[in-house]
Symmetry: none
DNA sequence: GATGAATGAGTTTTCATTCAT
DNA sequence: GATGAATGAAAACTCATTCAT
């Protein structure tokens, strides 16, 4: 009996716990859509509570203040974002396939989750970058971890002589990540730009083929 | 003699005008350093006035409100930034030299004007991107104009068969601009990263040489 | 039993609602006494809140801004004022009784509600007359409606040949209303003036008897 | 010599003095039109200076502060207003002619000098009535003096048995002044009201003839 | 003597957060 | 445990007034 209970309380969340988690998600979703649309400072806690259909007091039961809510949101979304992309890389064995799938999945996520993406970059480059130091440190760490995974792909490709050693693997990881982000962002902001590459391979080609005659 | 004087009095602003311009610059500099450090919403007009050593009322004599001050700041700095980089490209004739100089000057500006850079990207990706619509449109236009100049370099390089046609010139402009920004930003934020390329040529190599064996 | 309860719950406001209404009244009373004493522009929202013993934020929960509070105050008081006077007229059947009671009640209200009266005329003739256009229009309408009622008394008195037709009924309404207001105001402002008529009948006599020998 | 000088300085103002007086008038006229249109609190000293085409500092050379300017304006206009009306009364000998001319001239002034009238009543009933105590006292005194003149007309009319003694002369003065003001104001604010008496005699008739059959 | 740039006290309003019910 | 009324600190902005040139 007690085992059962313990087990339940540890692994299978109780109905109450599941309910709580659901409410928390509702709040975070409301906050996400509002923050993404109007920016952190232009969203009030009342708006979030009201959009999530909770009382303001209830919102404060879940998050001790606005910053806390924002941090939780950013961190959870960032984690999911990085996890999905890291997974995409590990799905294949061949290095080129790994890069291709990374670009493909990253592109899909960008298109499907614009609000999260907006918020993520708004946090990374926006006005909060200097304040909320811990948050930035945590995001930075996750980003570095991801870059290591991506660098690993280049490294193993080089070891197998599939890639030329035009730059350190880590540098190439930064470069590919940067290029792809820039292209994806551009598609968001300049949907009319017809010269942008259609598919991930085209992006990859820029890195792979080299420009020099 | 009189001609000289008249000429001077027409072109060179009067003492009063010069004084005004100086004050305006002081205010913008104070605002720049504060906005760059703490972000638009975390800076008060009193702080700016006090940092610039003016009374609050004087600040409002120069800028009709906070947004107006911010827009003036962003626009003037953005213009100077783009102008300096465009000029760097046009300084040379050879396409490779042009790209190299672009990267060199951009890097210098990044290192010498960190606050402006912070502010620029904070505006481009931060929470203001959706509000202050006109401002964003104006920045976008300047950016597009600059991209055209950069694309022109790739295009002429291709015409002369100095560059391979691995992608449309405009796409390459986006790519090179993106990669270089990413590297420069990374130097700001991860000064300890030893693997980052030291010089512009290394960045260029990534694009030029191609990764594929 | 249940019917009774339901009925009560529908018609009689809940405790919360009554509490709200009470607070609102407290705020309006505080505002009335301050506006009446010092005028709209010389009263701050903080003063009102503090006199009503609420926090400034609470005041703004009830009235969306200072103008809104002022309008609500003027309109509600004006309505009560006009309603009380109109009622006084309709209390009697005889035309002379109606006029007498109108003057009597108007006088009582003037003496008992000096602040409202001050505010009412301050609004009607003071500096707000040109700004706050809707408010003035609404007050004007209520005044016109009241004048029609008063004119009706003169008209019916003329039909019954109780009054001579020395002027159109509406003109007489304006005249009587004007004279009585002037006298009442004078009692407020020149309490020492011994020649002013003591009772309503004396005022009425001026209109009724005629000056010409 | 000295006599001459004294005489000149007292009676014939020097060119400088005349110039000064002219400037002062320009400032007061600018202030009048602005105050009358927007009310005391909604007009800035800069507006007045700029409308009068003077520097703000010059305005302050003539009036030590905003209140001072306002008081001077009100007082000078009030004096002129009362003087003109008092003069109108004294122009005739016959009591009825005196009243008729009073009403005629008062009406002309109302129509020709709407801004002054607005300002006068805005001061008398508006929000300033309680503050600016001296100003109100001075206006009150002038008004009382005028009422005495008007009361004198009724008194002499009664002595000659031309008027019935339906009320003390002073009371009748208040009444006639009140009625006429009310009618004139109504013409300003309700220009469409067709029932209002066209000429002074009609107004007078209301007082003279009596309503009682 | 005229000017108008500079000043800063004072006002309205918002919104994160608390806590009694 | 949820609620939402109440709080008040803090921010943008205005404008009467001064005084150096």
């Amino acid at each position: 009996m007690q085992n059962e209970y313990l087990a339940r309380s540890r692994k299978q969340p109780s109905r109450r716990e599941r309910e709580k988690a659901r409410q928390r998600q509702d709040m975070l979703e409301a906050a996400l859509s509002l923050f993404s649309e109007k920016g952190y400072h232009n969203v009030t806690m009342h708006e979030i509570a009201s959009k999530a259909e909770f009382a303001i007091g209830t919102l404060y039961k879940f998050f001790k203040n606005k910053e806390d809510l924002y941090k939780a949101l950013i961190l959870e979304k960032t984690d999911a974002f990085h996890a999905a992309i890291a997974e995409a890389i590990e799905e294949y064995d061949d290095e080129l396939d790994r890069l291709r799938n990374y670009l493909k999945v990253k592109g899909e996520i960008f298109r499907a989750h614009v609000p999260v993406i907006r918020l993520y970059f708004s946090e990374k480059y926006g006005e909060g970058f200097n304040l909320m130091a811990e948050l930035n440190e945590q995001i930075r760490q996750r980003h570095e971890e991801f870059l290591k995974i991506l660098a690993g792909v280049f490294e193993s490709g080089m070891r197998k002589n599939r890639f030329r050693k035009i730059a350190p693997p880590h540098t190439l990881a930064v470069a590919l990540n940067g290029i792809s982000t820039v292209f994806l962002f551009r598609r968001l902001e300049e949907p009319g730009d017809q010269t942008l590459p259609e598919d991930p391979d085209a992006i990859l080609d820029i890195l792979l083929k080299g420009l020099a005659e």
